[in-house]
């Protein structure tokens, strides 16, 4: 049954190839159905593989064993990709509970969002191309997750990056979309430098890039700060992909892409790849407590900063984007704490409820003819009952209201952070307040209060007339995801100790897992604290935003303009960089280097008084001279060959 693991990436690859070759002839909507079916195939393979893996004893699921099985009974390698000297890289699969968990939610959520897209992208000029990109994305994501070595992970890593570029810039006739796509790619590239350097460093010390061998030889990395450097370089890559400080500001711009893309790539799957990477290399993280502190601090800071920004956004998708940044900040904080299971737990729950929030937002945007400004929404609960109810569950899940999934996942993280550092715990709790507050604000502005879409906007845009509920292809994914947004927390309830995510992922993270060492009483106390904070924040938001749509005092420019982050980058790097490039091109290259060459030529010409003729004629004769001379030499030599 483990052979089905091969099929997981092959289904979307086949879908990609078929749609690329025949997509235009197949046309709408069948191209969409083919794309969806490919991912469904992938999901079924994942389920079969999961059954196979779960059927084994917990020790036989662990990382080393799955590879030794790979070499003996089941060759889990497609082919040798690169083999030069001591560097051997195979296109091979590493199947363990961690990659399996990732595959399950990646294929599951992708399948639902493909289905949703069939409805959402209806009538788009490039309907089939959308599914080409989407299938390519799922393929790359599965390569990223299933790779058995760093370099093949990097293939998927870059693959999802380029798919993200294509999909953000999908409506390329809009300049903002084109720029956002480019920005996303370049920010990720900066992170990729970290990934590349980490691989060079790890290869130079251990002579391999295969996860299992690297971990087996990890003692070679200890000492001299090597492990810290390697981990921090990988973390740089993670900050790019997972939109953390200092590389987070591409994600809000990426909302220029179609909403299903925002849900799939920029909320549920791709942006969590950085967290996955860090969890994957957890044995290396264990070598460097310093790096772990950096990771935890950056995660906590990102969670807080992004949550404050989300409180002041007017665009529903931008608010959700900053929420994503903040939530991934929590996951990174968990990784830095050593609470890997908690990070994965939040990742799975977040994929469900944040995917749902985006799909709900998409349904609203779809119903209001591409309106994204929350000032122009309000009171939609009567017009869009399905969207309203499902969005409501996702809101409560994200706000971490018990017993919705977010409460358990975030509680797990905060309990662990409490054991590591009180200041970080305080920051996390404060962020939790802001989280519940901004999400409630979004919910109230969108679904309750006055029906502002009936009015003419202050800037003169006409009212919307007939907001409508989405078609069934869009509603079905909403309902399924809502179910998981409510109940996903059940996979890892704190008082259950059999068959949970903890025990399932245990073999991957092994003894390094930082169990929460608090007493039962302390755990209950912490959980109560979380719940109280969340409920208080919801009540505050209810008082503030239930009826009014604008409160300038609570939306300062500092927050609306993202702490002026883009402006600082532009002033510090962007503009000086452009000036430098121009200076190099116009002054250094044209005047200095080329000037020296031309100057030398002029000097020669002025001294050689005999050569007064036009330069071109002169050289032309010269060339002919060489040609004739060469021909003569050639003829001479050929004659010698034949007659000697």
């Amino acid at each position: 049954m483990l052979h089905a693991a091969f099929l997981m990436p092959l289904f979307p690859l086949a879908g990609f190839v078929v749609l690329l070759a025949f997509g235009r002839r197949i046309g709408e909507p069948f191209a969409g159905w083919i794309g969806t079916a490919a991912i469904a195939g992938s999901f079924v393979s994942a389920c079969v593989t999961l059954a196979g893996l779960a059927g084994r004893s917990s020790a036989a699921r662990s990382l080393t064993c799955s590879v030794s099985c790979g070499t003996a009974a089941q060759p889990h390698a497609f082919f040798t990709w690169i083999s030069v000297g001591g560097l051997h890289v195979k296109a091979a699969i590493l199947l363990d509970p961690l990659s399996m968990t990732m595959c399950m939610f990646v294929t599951g959520v992708s399948m639902l969002i493909h289905l949703y897209s069939v409805g959402y992208m209806k009538g788009d000029r490039d309907f089939t191309k959308f599914f080409v990109y989407l299938n390519a994305f799922v393929f790359s994501m599965l390569v990223l997750v299933l790779a058995n070595n760093l370099l093949v992970t990097f293939v998927g890593w870059e693959g999802v990056g380029v798919c993200s570029y294509w999909l953000v810039a999908f409506w390329f006739h809009r300049d903002s979309a084109a720029s956002a796509g480019k920005k996303a790619f370049i920010y990720n590239r900066i992170g990729d430098v970290g990934f590349l350097l980490a691989m060079f460093l790890i290869f130079s010390k251990t002579g391999t890039l295969t996860y299992v061998s690297v971990f087996a030889h990890r003692h070679l990395l200890s000492g001299g700060g090597t492990a810290t450097a390697a981990v921090l370089l990988l973390f740089l890559a993670a900050t790019g992909k997972s939109a953390q400080i200092p590389l987070f500001n591409w994600l809000p711009d990426a909302m220029e892409g179609p909403t299903p893309v925002s849900a799939l790539i920029h909320a549920a799957t791709m942006v969590t790849a950085g967290v996955y990477l860090l969890c994957r290399v957890n044995p290396l993280l264990a070598l460097s407590p310093d790096a772990m502190w950096v990771i935890a601090a950056i995660g906590g800071a990102t969670a807080f900063v992004a949550a404050t920004i989300a409180c002041a956004q007017q665009d529903i998708k931008k608010a959700l984007a900053f929420s994503t940044v903040s939530q991934i900040g929590y996951m990174v904080l968990a990784v830095g704490t050593g609470a890997y299971v908690a990070a994965i737990f939040l990742m799975v729950c977040h994929a469900c409820y944040k995917g749902l929030l985006f799909l709900g937002a998409g349904s609203v945007i779809h119903g209001l003819e591409d309106e994204q400004d929350m000032q122009r929404m309000g009171g939609l609960r009567r017009v869009m009952p399905w969207t309203f109810v499902t969005f409501l569950t996702a809101w409560l899940a994200l706000a971490a209201i018990p017993p919705f999934s977010g409460f358990w996942a975030k509680g797990d993280i905060l309990t662990n952070v409490y054991g590591k550092s009180l200041p970080l715990y305080a920051l996390g709790l404060l962020t939790a307040f802001f989280t519940a507050y901004y999400m409630s604000r979004v919910f109230f502005l969108t679904f309750t209060g006055r029906e502002r879409w009936r009015e003419t906007a202050p800037d003169g845009r006409p009212p919307h007339h007939s907001p409508h509920e989405a078609p069934w292809a869009m509603r079905a994914p909403l309902v399924i995801l809502a179910f998981f947004a409510v109940f996903a927390g059940a996979v890892n309830l704190p008082w259950v100790h059999v068959g949970t995510l903890d025990t399932w992922l245990g073999p991957v993270f092994g003894s390094r897992l930082f169990a929460a060492h608090q007493s039962a009483g302390a755990q209950v106390g912490l959980a109560l604290g979380d719940a109280v904070v969340a409920i208080a924040a919801v009540l505050v938001a209810w008082r503030l935003w239930r009826r009014s749509a604008t409160r300038p005092a609570l939306e300062p420019a500092f927050l609306r303009r993202v702490w002026y982050w883009d402006n600082v980058y532009d002033a510090a790097i962007g503009r000086p960089g452009q000036a430098l490039a121009r200076a190099y091109a116009v002054v250094v290259d044209a005047r200095v280097i080329d000037g020296a060459v031309n100057g030398a030529a002029r000097l020669v010409r002025s001294t050689a008084t005999g050569v007064r003729r036009v330069q071109t004629g002169y050289v032309r004769n010269y060339v002919l001279g060489i040609a004739l001379g060469m021909a003569a030499i050639l003829a001479f030599m050929l004659s010698r060959t034949w007659w000697s």
Binding site: F79, W81, I82, S83, V84, G85, G86, L87, H88, L151, F154, V155, E158, G159, V162, Y165, A169, F172, H173, D175, A177, A178, S179, G181, K182, F185, I186, R189, D192, V193, L196, L197, F200, L201, F203, S204, K205, T206, G207, H217, Q578, L580, A581, R582, Y584, A585, V588, I593, V597, T616, V619, V623, I626, A627, M630, I633, M637, R640, T641, S644
Partner: protein, 520 residues
Amino acid sequence: MSTHAFPYLTVLILLPAGGALGVALLGARRHVARAVVEWVGIAVSLATLGLAVVVAALFATTTGGFQFVSDHRWASGLGVHWQLGVNGISLFLVLLAAILFPIALVGARTRTDAPSFVAWMLLLECACIGSFVSIDLILFFFFFELTLVPSYFIISGWGYARRAYAAVKFFVYTFLGSAFLLVGILVVAFIHKDQTGVLTFSLPALEHTHFSSAGEILLFLAFTAAFAVKAPIFPFHTWSPDAYAEAPTGGSMILSAVLAKLGTYGILQFDLRLFPQASVDLAPLMLTLAVVGIIYGAIVACAQRDLKRLVAYSSLAQMGFIALGTFAFTTQGLTGGVLLMLNHGLITAALFLLIGWIYERRQTWQVSELRGLQAPAPVLAGVFTVVMLASIGLPGLNGFVSEFLVLSGTFLTHRWWAVVATAGVVLAALYLLWAYQQVFHGKVDLANSRTRDLSWAERVVIAPLILVIVFLGVYPKPVLDRITPTVNSLVAQVDSATRTTEPPVARLGVNGTLPRRVRT
């Protein structure tokens, strides 16, 4: 050295030479239609390609030495031989030339005086292949210089506005470099004659010449002067943007993809073998020039507003990567450098071809005048995207494999050079994505909205390049298997000549990390 009964390499050189002659004679006759002449030329280049493919298929992966050797003595007094052979370093350059010439002839036809153009191109093909397979230094020099003649006439005859200036600059600059090379070759041969009493120009024989350390450095610099100009390596590059920009499309393709490789090929095949000690001693200098070229080329490319010049400067950066891998002196670095010569050739030729097609449609390379082309020409945009991503180094396409090998190999011996060079990866994305956005994205205006998409003929021409770019990204093994034996012997040669060794992980991987067992 293995030999075959059939003189493959001699035929590989003479076939295009004969073709050039035939086309020139045919073209001189009035009653022969131009198209017939062109197709004769294309047929000859395709036959050359067929033969090159046979050579690559018969190439043995078990030896690092020269294969398909043919050796005929000429003027015995002069010591010059018609000595040809290929090894893992030259094989794929021959193949590259053989692939690109037919594509350039079909894809980038000229409107004026086609017979002469085709004849010059075939002569250029003869000279390029001749340079790559000559292992007699005088014969190499002969072909190396011969490339100048057709390139000069192609630039000055079929180029664009500033073609005269560009052609002269190209010619004088590279010709000056070669003067050093000729002197260097003669000195090496005469030193060898002093030591052995035999006057020969054969590379395998000259490898065993001993030089004084100062003399070796001077000779290395003399050889490298010619090769650094040809490649070009920073700061000897200023002829290249002018030449690439002013040459006709076919000329730009061949100049940047094949001719430029003569420089890096010369360094790999001749400098490293003849002067291993000087190469290792001067490696920090060469690595620094390489890294500066990578960063500098990329930064200047960011400021270009003309597509052809942008690609020219990106080429400078890529040549820097080749030099970087070469002077890292590790198995990965050298293999990556050789592979990158092939990959860069394929990518840059495809870029110049596509840019030439854009020019055919819009009569401009100015980024400011192009906009939103993806809407009227989606296939062109898609093909351009693939080539652009290969150039950026996206894994799964060919550029990445070579770039990764070069950088990881460099990191083993010269860590900080590799770190700086890796930053060039970001810059490449910066200028190429910027250019793509300006040209293909945005709302299309009236002038650009009538841009024709690729015709079926054009798709057939570009398809082989795209297929190879994808194939070599996914499965580079057939190429790597043919390069590695030669690189291994080269590394061994350098190691034994300089009494140094590359880091054990480069050769042994994870086993190289084990503590050495002392033999008792």
